[in-house]
């Protein structure tokens, strides 16, 4: 399969690879399943103003899944939680020019940010 330039760029030079120590201001979202061939782990660090000041990811999956999560970490940084929740899979798919068979990678990325936000918010209510 031939890849678009942006997918290749994110794949060759993934942004924000890594993990955060578990803490009260960290939200973790892990979505997908090994049996399906992709698992995304996205973590966000949220400051007192409710702004995502840092984000990291690790992804097991195809090039498009890696690129989708790498792009997502770039996009969410500096956004409020409400803004980050507005990110839609279609925007990711469009930005990376994903072919139809790879749309599920962008869906997974959208699921990942929502899961990370939910995890963060759950920690705040405890």
């Amino acid at each position: 399969m031939a890849y678009g330039e942006k997918v290749l760029d994110h794949y060759e030079n993934p942004r924000n690879v890594g993990s955060f120590e578990n803490a009260n201001n960290v939200g973790t979202g892990m979505v997908g399943a090994p049996a399906c061939g992709d698992v995304m782990k996205l973590q966000i660090k949220v400051n007192d103003n409710g702004v995502i000041e840092d984000a990291v990811f690790k992804t097991y999956g195809c090039g498009s899944a890696i690129a989708s999560s790498s792009l997502l970490t770039e996009w969410v940084k500096g956004k409020t939680l409400a803004e980050a929740r507005q990110i839609k899979n279609t925007q990711i798919a469009e930005e990376l020019a994903l072919p139809p068979v790879k749309i599920h990678c962008s869906v997974l990325a959208e699921d990942a940010i929502n899961a990370a936000i939910a995890d963060y918010q759950k920690k705040q209510t405890i």
């Binding site: 399969m1 979505v31 090994p34 049996a35 061939g37 097991y60 195809c62 899944a65 068979v101």
Partner: protein, 423 residues
């Protein structure tokens, strides 16, 4: 051209040049280049000054020369596998041979019975021919192989019924390279007077085949897997005792009525030459390929969580199929873009299902998704294997650093203990 566009096109030229840098070809089970010696022979049957005639033309030397060339090639094909030239029917390739054998025999013998036995790891040409017969009212048993890819003879024998007319089992598997015991399977079929078809597309020229003694009734061959041209193959149809089948292609009655259509002289000559070379060089070539394959395996086997798929003993020399656990196959292919290889990962296909062959071995989905097939051939060099090993080691490390599953494995978390949301 303005300077700006000139610069732009120079830049895109250099990008194109980089992209065109030839990858190392390690996909010889997909296809092979045509051997130069084969090309030379084929060219003698193409141009206006060549023996371009129709082998079926009986009234002039153009036809006679072409016919002589076809018959010589038929003999060369037969010689590699210990058959009589009269038992070789030329087709367009192994897929057509499989179709002709399976549907042809099933149709011809439908009054005797409508049950067929095959294996889940067969090539799609066999499986889909069987599926078609199921739509026509036949019953098919698809055997599970053992975890090493080989068929358990006891399980096989238990699957046979009084109305079984045909068994189709491949000689060498295209994905994992394991060699089935077709002599033993054939003997069981003979005892019960069941017709036995073998897809030998991946074994001819790689494993000794002597149909003079092997209890096999039909065998499919392909030219392009052993340095011949694409678009030509053959079906061995045993004469004593005679195996009868219903033609799938009707027309001029070529190939004793079993496969009509003008014989593709240049393709057939190419196949003959490729088979002649294989007979001559197979032993030495296998020795060389085995060394290279072992070198490749030795170069990667100490990486953590590496699994070989398929039996290592009963396996052709040129095949290595490995799963790099916690690394997804398609992303590994991307990281190894200077290697021409293939993966059992679902993401390399449109179906989103991982390799059905590895699944049939009982491999879990993760390992099936993580599998890579390396197949080595006539033009592979030791230097290429060295480069491949280096690239694989770098790529696997890079992707494991990216993999959340690898982190979990390292932390001692059992991935099966987690409730994953399947999607």
């Amino acid at each position: 051209m303005s300077e700006q566009t000139a610069n732009k096109s120079a830049a895109s030229n250099s990008a194109a040049a980089k992209a065109k840098q030839k990858p190392i070809y390690l996909d010889y089970s997909a296809t092979t280049p045509i051997d130069e010696r084969v090309v030379t022979e084929m060219l003698k049957y193409m141009g206006p000054d060549s023996h371009f005639g129709n082998p079926a033309s009986r009234s002039h030397s153009f036809g006679w020369d072409a016919e002589a060339a076809v018959e010589e090639a038929r003999k060369q094909v037969a010689d590699l596998v210990g058959a009589n030239p009269k038992e070789i029917v030329f087709t367009s390739g192994a897929t057509e041979s499989d179709n002709l054998a399976i549907k042809g025999v099933a149709h011809f013998n439908q009054k005797r019975g409508k049950h067929i036995v095959t294996c889940k790891t067969e090539h799609k040409a066999v499986l889909d021919s069987c599926r078609q017969l199921e739509r026509e009212g036949y019953e098919v048993t698809y055997l599970d192989p053992m975890p090493n890819g080989l068929i358990d003879l006891k399980v096989f024998e238990d699957a046979l019924r009084d109305d079984t007319t045909l068994v189709s089992i491949m000689h060498v598997n295209n994905e994992i390279g394991v060699i089935q015991d077709i002599a033993a399977i054939g003997r069981i079929c003979r005892d019960r007077k069941i017709i036995f078809h073998v897809d030998a597309a991946q074994s001819a020229g790689k494993v000794d085949i002597n149909l003079d003694v092997l209890p096999v009734d039909l065998m499919s061959f392909s030219a392009h897997k052993i340095y011949g041209p694409k678009g030509i193959g053959a079906l061995y149809v045993q004469r004593k005792p005679r195996v009868r089948l219903e033609a799938q292609m009707h027309g001029g009655g070529h190939e004793r009525g079993m496969r009509s259509g003008t014989l593709a002289t240049h393709q057939i000559v190419g196949m003959g030459e490729a088979f002649r070379i294989a007979k001559q060089e197979m032993t030495a070539e296998n020795e060389r390929l085995l060394k290279l394959r072992n070198k490749l395996y030795d170069g990667v086997k100490d990486i953590e969580e590496v699994y070989v798929n398929g039996d290592m003993e009963h396996r052709i020399a040129g095949n290595l199929n490995i799963s790099f656990n916690y690394v997804e196959g398609e992303s590994l292919l991307m990281a190894l873009n200077n290697l021409a290889i293939s993966s059992g990962s679902a993401c390399t296909s449109a179906s989103l299902e991982p390799s059905y062959v590895l699944r049939a071995l009982g491999r879990n989905d993760e390992l099936a998704h993580s599998s890579i097939r390396f197949t080595i051939g006539r033009y592979t060099t030791e230097e290429e294997i060295d480069r491949a090993i280096e690239n694989i080691r770098v790529a696997v490390e890079k992707l494991r650093n990216l993999s959340p599953l690898w982190d979990m494995y390292k932390e001692g978390i059992d991935l099966n203990s987690i409730e994953w949301a399947a999607h």
